[in-house]
Amino acid sequence: MRISVELFGIPRIRAGVQVVELELAVPTTLGQVLAELSRLFPALEGECIVNGELLPGFLASLRGDRFIRDSATTLDGEASLLILTADAGG
């Protein structure tokens, strides 16, 4: 399945890209997406992601709707994921 991953905040800075398109097996989990992101953008590992898990202070969002952190979350049919800094202090 093709997943469009949009990066915001620190993940965007570390990866150096705003959007990345991933081609992954169905079903896939959040953890697998995160692991693939770390592989493509090593600067994310240890800063935002560790071993397929989001570090505290970061969130994922399915299509911009609900927020998730659990790496076991299945993304079956999800085409869009956001990875962002959780702290929204303004």
Partner: protein
């Protein structure tokens, strides 16, 4: 010599506040009992206690009798990072309710060195004056040469007049003209919300200058230094990276994506072209520098260059709130326009959120044919600047804008109050309530008005604990938790940008306070303190005339979904259920009133409620 001089004080405190009457320059030092310090700490907590003690709730905020307090904290002057902060507390001329605003600067350090835990100003000077406090010496000096000057100009002049170790807190022309959202400014930073600048302006005081060398001791200096080193190290880590590397402006693009970016007076949650205002875009085309507040290791202050119409180059501090309020809220995406508008607000001494919110509201009134000012259009950066420059002048529109969106709506009538972007008269910050419904609750119930600082409810929305577009009563307890954390940080005082670097905030706060004061607090004690301060704030507001109808949102948010995100719809009954759950969670009555048991925990008499 005062009462406090004979009493063993807890570390971190001087044990007294200074009450100055600027009518004649007289002053009195009043002892503060240790129990009060332990119950209210400092900053916004102690400020609330002062306002209740001085009867401010019943006084016209712009009257000579109304007190304005500058409040320090036990952490000020300590090695703890981000601790150089002070609170400015009064009854707000904009809302009529309790107002407390914070600023980070060396004024906190110099102010506390005068030997007081707070400085309270009352009265009205006979002519524009500068209040000078040098330890026990208080005097008024003429302000003829700085009255009418911008914050920047007046600061330069006064820095030449006073010694280098003096610190200066002042108002701009907006405060002098009693614009209801005027700020207090020190070194380019503002105690921004709620109109404290107007309160000081009504007293004919242009500036408060402080200087001294009295230091409060610490109970366990070695322990405190160890804690400070540890906190500083954490403050430089990943928990604060967003603030250090991008600044709060990083919110803009994310919120736009989530349809949570208030645009065109909250008519929509997204605006095309807003990427132009992102930190990355700003940095790509203009000079950027970075700095930090006094005694801060995080370094979240991002400053960008902007050229004025006359060609002169200036620097503007950029935060999410001034970007949103003067940008998408007014439909403007032009970088220069937004930065110039922000700079102008800083020069005049005006809260950017209320400025942008009031102008955006006026723009919509023009759009709807309710206001006959055809040049004031959404998206027009020049119109935005023109409107800002009118505020506080004798121009009819300027006079109306100076009173904020709620009063403007009341003057216009024709149902415009339904879309005036305010709660209790305070304009909403940059969090769209329909897209962030725990924040909607936070806005509705906050004692200051629509407020993202005293309520951190957006933390709940930005988590996996709730569906941000389906507010439920269960979220109320989570919202209370964020408020209590904010209350502790605002009373100790520490910067909220540290919160992700702290483990258990209540436990760690207790440990820091214990090192300074010698008290033996634990995390649960801090929760009780937070709850007490929240109830005291509510008590003040009830004494000021609050009713349950004040805890709500404008009808726009309760009757209209976001056109760009139809799922972002706030059900009024749902909001009411959340509000009631919040009140009960606080130990108050369901509609928000306080019973005798609740008031008792504040240390104030229940008779205040009936006064």
């Amino acid at each position: 010599m005062s009462d406090s001089d004979h009493i063993q004080l807890p570390g971190g405190y001087h044990g007294a506040y200074l009450l100055v009457d600027v009518t004649d320059g007289s002053c009195q030092r009043h002892a503060i009992a240790e129990q009060v310090l332990a119950d209210y700490l400092g900053g916004t907590g102690l400020g609330t206690w002062l306002m209740l003690t001085l009867g401010a709730a019943q006084l016209d905020p712009l009257s000579p009798e109304a007190p304005l307090a500058v409040v320090f904290s036990p952490l000020v002057g300590s090695p703890l990072t981000t601790s150089a902060k002070f609170a400015v507390v009064s009854r707000s001329p904009l809302t009529g309710f309790l107002n407390d605003s914070l600023a980070s600067s060396a004024f906190a350090l110099a102010g506390k060195r005068t030997g007081h835990d707070a400085i309270v100003v009352r009265g009205r000077a006979a002519s524009p004056s500068i209040l000078v406090i040098e330890e026990d010496e208080v005097r008024l000096e003429p302000a003829d040469d700085v009255w009418g000057k911008t914050c920047e100009q007046a600061t330069r002049i006064l820095k030449d007049r006073f010694p280098a170790d003096a610190a200066i807190l002042l108002i701009g022309p907006a405060g002098e003209q009693q614009v209801l959202f005027a700020t207090l400014s020190h070194d380019g930073r503002h105690a921004g919300r709620g109109g404290s600048g107007a309160v000081l302006g009504a007293k004919n005081i242009k500036a408060i200058v402080v200087r001294g060398d009295r230091r409060a001791g610490w109970h366990d200096p070695d322990g405190l230094i160890k804690q400070a080193r540890d906190l500083s190290a954490r403050s430089l880590g990943p928990a604060t990276a967003k603030y250090r590397e991008l600044g709060t402006a990083a919110n803009l693009v994310l919120f736009n994506r989530l349809h949570a970016l208030p645009s065109r007076n909250f008519q929509q949650g997204q605006l095309e072209g807003v990427e132009a205002l992102s930190p990355q875009q700003l940095e790509s085309v203009r000079e950027k520098t970075q700095t930090s507040c006094a005694a801060c290791t995080i370094g979240c202050t991002h400053i960008y260059g902007v050229r004025s119409a006359d060609g002169s180059q200036h620097q503007v501090r950029v935060e999410y709130e001034n970007l949103f309020a003067l940008g998408p809220l007014c439909g403007v995406t032009d970088q220069d326009a937004v930065l110039q508008a922000s700079r102008r607000c800083d020069e005049l001494g005006m809260d950017t959120i209320s400025t942008g919110g009031t102008i955006a509201f006026a723009m919509e009134c023009v759009e709807r044919g309710l206001l006959d000012v055809d040049w004031l259009q959404f998206g027009d950066g020049e119109a935005l600047l023109r409107a800002i420059n009118l505020i506080g002048t004798s121009d009819e529109l300027g006079q109306q804008l100076a009173r904020g969106s709620k009063r403007l709506a009341e003057a216009i009538g024709q149902g415009s109050i339904d879309f005036a972007p305010q709660v209790k008269g305070l304009e909403l910050p940059g969090y769209e309530p329909r897209a962030l419904q725990t924040m909607a609750l936070g806005f509705a119930v906050s004692t200051r008005g629509a407020d993202h600082n005293r309520s951190g409810a957006y933390e709940v929305d930005f988590s996996e604990q709730v569906d941000r577009r389906q507010g439920t009563p269960q979220a109320a307890l989570l919202a209370i938790e964020t408020e209590d954390r904010a209350t502790i940080m605002d009373s100790m005082i520490l910067c909220k940008f540290l919160r992700a670097a702290l483990g258990d905030l209540f436990e760690e706060s207790a440990e820091m306070l214990n090192s300074i004061t010698g008290w033996q607090l634990q995390g649960d004690d801090m929760r009780i303190i937070a709850s007490r301060i929240a109830t005291a704030r509510k008590l003040f507001n009830i004494c000021s005339g609050w009713t349950p109808a004040d805890d709500s949102l404008p009808n726009r948010f309760l009757t209209t979904a976001l056109p760009d995100d139809p799922q972002a719809r706030l059900d009024p009954q749902q909001l009411q259920a959340m509000i009631e759950a919040y009140n009960l969670g606080r130990g108050w009555q369901q509609q928000g009133w306080l019973d005798e048991a609740a008031v008792e925990q504040t240390g104030f008499p229940f008779s205040l409620v009936d006064a």
